[in-house]
């Protein structure tokens, strides 16, 4: 197996942490892993994009356009931005949430409808709603982690604390 994953969201949503958790889980199963992060400016409310490559022998740290098996988006507009990374048979996983960009107002349901109709296999996951239910928006990424772990056939990474475990299991139960 060799899997290319692009994880996107908005600075502050825990995109980097989600990628690291996935990497830890894959490493625990004996896979080679490369995670390419971007720090600095992009963390300040801008788009964040992290590449994860998992396989028996991985060299290149980044996924090229048209080369991703999975795009995981913690925010719906960022899913549109990362869309170009998908393979024709790739899978898109989108959190049911919009963070309004500067300027124009975007409607969440209209955006998700457009994505649903786009022809790419898509899962829309209510990570935001579940996280709030669990007490904090901070758990958004661990709900998503649970969901995609089930999809990828990976186990829970060892470093999750109790609250994040709870969120992980909720995410896992959605599929």
């Amino acid at each position: 197996m060799e899997t290319g994953i692009v994880i996107v969201g908005v600075g502050g949503q825990g995109v980097l942490t989600l990628a690291r958790w996935l990497g830890e889980a894959a490493m625990a199963e004996g896979y080679d892993v490369r995670i390419a992060e971007v720090h600095g400016m992009s963390q300040r409310g801008g788009s964040v994009e992290v590449h994860v490559r998992i396989g028996r022998e991985v060299y290149a740290p980044i996924v090229e356009e048209g080369g991703a098996d999975f795009v995981i988006a913690l925010e719906a507009l960022e899913a549109l931005r990362a869309y170009r990374y998908l393979k024709p048979n790739g899978i898109l996983v989108v959190n049911k949430r919009i963070i309004q960009p500067p300027g124009k107002w975007y409607n969440l349901n209209d955006t998700l409808d457009a994505i649903r109709r786009s022809g790419i296999k898509t899962y829309i996951v209510p990570c935001y709603d579940i996280a709030l239910e669990l007490g904090s928006v901070l758990y958004e990424n661990s709900v998503m982690l649970g969901f995609v772990s089930k999809l990828l056939g990976l186990s829970m990474p060892p470093s999750l604390d109790e609250n994040n475990r709870k969120a992980f299991l909720r995410g896992m139960s959605l599929i």
């Binding site: 892993v33 740290p61 990374y85």
Partner: protein, 592 residues
């Protein structure tokens, strides 16, 4: 122990395994985590210096005295340290001295792309180039041994996709720090011209020897009649591109690119494809060895930005004449809107910019900017020039002198100490009428919150000592601050310089502190009855937690609001209502 490490963390652990005793840096993406990792080891001297030059000097001095020392910085930081860098090759060192620089191809968070390997060529300092975190670990460790063996500084050039890539790395226990004692040697260490001339001769001889040693870092794999010479992160793309193109090739990977070992000419058959990240530093040296190359110089690979498997596969396919069909990226169903980096909700700079805008209304100021979070004031139309650390006061002074502009120079506290202190002398010396605004959030915030000198040396002590009229404000207190800044504006209008220090810690640090203490952060919501769609909050203040609804009224995203209350201060209709309590939070924030 096998850990999923960032390249920068691997560099730190490799240095620890080599017994590094002194480590210094000035934070800068993508280099910062090297020192952040070392900070945990209290048995060593680890220090965030005022700038890259002072960091370099601390470590260089320690290495002259025989200690094992490293200095880390981003590519543009090396320009600041370039003066001592060039002398370091002349004196050499006694203890291992590793200079880590992290380049940023595609400029994810930098002003220019600069390939620091040029500095190695210019300064006669060999450059190691790791391709991944595992090699970063090994090369950092070996770099100290190499430096000590040669009694010469060694540079290690990383790039974003090595420094900020995580991979499984096997690490050893840290070795005890190796300290030193200075032994006097005037002929070697005092670079007055007579001594320096002798040292230059010795340096050229040493450089020949280093060129031979560089041969030991060549790795050759594969077979065939195509030769691909590569180094650093580019090697990874070459490996996968060769696999994808299904061609037979000899991959020649260099661990030391500067100086390029002569031995490469014996390995390749007169011609080679060259794949490297950055400028054609390797390619030019190969040509000087008489090798005919196909690389960046003749357009096989792009001359700027970063490589990926696809770009490398396309270049190699063209160079060796095989077909290649690149993957076709799909088009999204809707065009995504731009989402530029913005000031964080509650960022004290957001309020400072608002205060400055109101206090200078009608003056049409030139906003002379600088490197740091406040460069994001560009989104508010309040940054007209940003070129390098210290450009605000430096270029702003020039702009003031050139015309009759009212110039506002905005600079962060860390950058103020890094690059503005000598400039203040010039401002005082010629009494240049400029408004200098120190945006003091107590941290080097854009790189993740390293402590700034302002935590032990408040900026007003310096500006007051220089006789500059100085005003200190708390930007959360918007109305009062506007009145104070107007006084400073009057001084500048009357032909004298003035300084405003806007002090409120980075809100991200404050949030972390509040979470640790279990204190709930209050939030603001919009009373839709009272909101009159005037747009002051989303158009002028531009808080990134506030959006404009389709009906023109304001909307506060509850997940983003951090209860700074600045919106409530600027709203003329009292439409923002507080949920929760504010006093304890504001106090924790002030102390963060």
């Amino acid at each position: 122990m096998r850990l999923l490490l960032l390249g920068n963390e691997a560099l730190a652990y490799g240095s620890l395994a080599a017994g590094v005793a002194v480590a210094t840096a000035y934070p800068g993406t993508p280099s910062t985590e090297v020192l952040e990792t070392l900070e945990e080891f209290k048995d060593r001297f680890v220090y965030w210096a005022a700038n890259e030059k002072t960091a370099f000097e601390l470590s260089y001095g320690a290495a002259l005295a025989g200690a094992r020392a490293l200095v880390a910085m981003k590519h543009v930081g090396l320009n600041v340290a370039s003066d001592p860098l060039h002398s370091a090759a002349y004196t050499g060192v006694e203890g291992g001295f590793l200079i880590i620089t992290a380049d940023d191809p595609w400029m994810y968070s930098s002003q220019n792309e600069q390939d620091t390997r040029w500095y190695g060529l210019q300064a006669y300092i060999p450059v190691l180039e790791p391709s991944n975190p595992v090699e970063a670990y090994k090369m950092a460790k070996d770099g100290f041994a190499l430096s000590e063996k040669l009694k010469h500084p060694v540079m290690l050039r990383s790039v974003t996709r090595v420094s900020h890539v995580r991979a499984p790395v096997e690490i050893e226990h840290p070795a005890p720090p190796k300290w030193g004692r200075f032994t006097k040697d005037v002929k070697r260490f005092c670079l007055v011209p007579t001594n320096a001339r002798e040292r230059k001769k010795a340096l050229l001889e040493k450089w020949e020897k280093i060129q031979d040693i560089a041969s030991e870092y060549i790795q050759t794999e594969g077979s065939g009649d195509v030769f691909i010479v590569t180094s650093g992160v580019a090697y990874n793309y070459v490996k996968e591109a060769v696999r994808r193109l299904n061609i037979k090739a000899v991959i020649v990977k260099l661990g030391i690119v500067v100086p390029t070992p002569r031995k490469v000419a014996d390995i390749v058959d007169k011609s080679a494809v060259v794949v490297e990240e950055g400028d054609p530093v390797l390619e030019l040296q190969l040509r000087s060895l008489g090798i005919s190359t196909r690389g960046k110089l003749n357009g096989y690979f792009p001359k700027f930005g970063e490589l990926d498997i696809n770009k490398v596969a396309m270049g190699i396919a063209k160079a060796v004449g095989v077909p290649y069909n690149p993957p076709q990226p799909p088009r999204p169903p809707l065009e995504p809107p731009p989402r530029p980096p913005v000031l964080c909700p509650g960022c004290p700079h957001m309020a400072t910019f608002y205060i400055l805008k109101v206090a200078t209304a009608g003056l049409n100021p030139v906003w002379s900017g600088d490197i740091g979070c406040y460069s994001l004031g560009i989104n508010m139309g309040q940054q007209d020039v940003i070129t390098h650390m210290g450009s605000s006061v430096g270029l702003g002074s020039g702009i003031t002198v050139a015309g009759r502009h009212f110039v506002v120079a905005t600079i962060g506290d860390s950058t103020f100490y890094h690059a503005a202190l000598p400039q203040l002398i010039d401002v005082v010396g010629k009494s240049i009428p400029i408004l200098i605004v120190v945006m003091d959030n107590s941290y080097t915030a854009m790189t993740g919150g390293q402590p700034s000198p302002s935590r032990f040396l408040p900026a007003e002590k310096i500006t007051e000592a220089l006789g500059l009229p100085t005003f200190v404000i708390d930007p959360v207190d918007v109305k009062r601050s506007i009145e104070i800044v107007k006084k400073a504006v009057e001084i500048v209008k009357n032909g004298k310089p003035a300084v405003v220090i806007s002090r409120r810690p980075c809100v991200l640090m404050a949030i972390r502190k509040a979470r640790r203490l279990g204190v709930q952060i209050p939030k603001y919501q919009v009373d839709l009855e009272k909101c009159k769609s005037c747009g002051l909050c989303y158009n002028l203040l531009k808080c990134s937690a506030i959006s404009k609804r389709p009906d023109g009224k304001a909307y506060v995203d509850p997940a983003l609001c951090v209860g700074c209350g600045v919106c409530a201060e600027v709203c003329p209709f009292n439409a923002f209502k507080l949920e929760g309590r504010k006093e304890i939070w504001l106090e924790i924030w002030k102390q963060a």
